[in-house]
Amino acid sequence: MSLRSPLSEARGLGSAKDGVGHWWMQRLSALALIPLSLWFVFSIARYHVADYPTMLAWIHAPLVAVALVLFFLAAFYHSALGVQVVIEDYIGNEALKIGGIALVKLAHFALAAASIYAVLKIAFGAL
């Protein structure tokens, strides 16, 4: 049993019921994405013309693999939170809204898992 009064449980949570949690994680992931996406956009500009062995060797390097995993974690998390806000802003129908957010979250989870798996497969695999 919780000893907190109903008032103290409701206080600060606002109409969205999760307080500033969503807002704060959007900013925190944005902060992480400043260095990560600067590095990523430059790397893609540089390596998108690389041949297959060069690309594999690049992803295989430990620092690059870790940076890619961090970028994917931050980007998919930030993206899921961001698209959720857009859906909440434009979709009035409650069922469509909940369904849309669920779909967006699941799709982001799936893409994040697949992308990170792909990086690790290359990183741990033989060249």
Binding site: A30, L33, F42, R46, Y52, S79
Partner: protein, 139 residues
């Protein structure tokens, strides 16, 4: 309950231009609102872009043949144009995101600074995009 005589008649309500429908004849575009739209549009475009990024790394993990298929599309003219547009969208969203974080910290709310920040964000994102591609091709 007394009749509210100052309330607009329903015909007047129907004729009144409302937010998104004001775009066009009733709405004067300003740097502030356009950049705000641009942040949302670029954010959504980048979210779609993550699908292509996932396809890129999955095709690389899948083997030489899949990677070659991806690379053929990525290095076509439309592929390169899309990649360049993506890089600008990302760098614009990044610069304007920093502007958002500055606001969130409680700074630069005076109209003068809001406009200055807006012009800076557009200029810096363009310079960064040019720099990224120039350096990428130079090294």
């Amino acid at each position: 309950m007394a009749e509210n005589t100052t309330a607009p008649k329903s015909a007047q309500i129907a004729a009144r231009p409302l937010s998104p429908f004001m775009l066009g004849p009733y709405y004067k575009f300003q740097l502030t609102s356009v950049l705000s739209f641009a942040h949302r549009i670029s954010g959504l475009a980048l979210s779609l872009g993550t699908v292509l990024i996932a396809i890129w790394v999955l095709s690389a993990a899948n083997g030489a043949w899949s990677y070659a298929q991806f690379a053929t599309v990525a290095r076509s003219i439309p592929g390169e144009v899309l990649l360049f547009a993506w890089s600008w969208a990302l760098l614009y969203h990044l610069c304007n995101g920093i502007r958002h974080l500055v606001w969130d910290s409680g700074f630069a709310f005076e109209i003068k600074h809001v406009y200055l920040g807006g012009y800076l964000v557009v200029a810096i994102s363009l310079v960064l995009t040019a720099a990224v591609w120039a350096v990428a091709f130079a090294v």
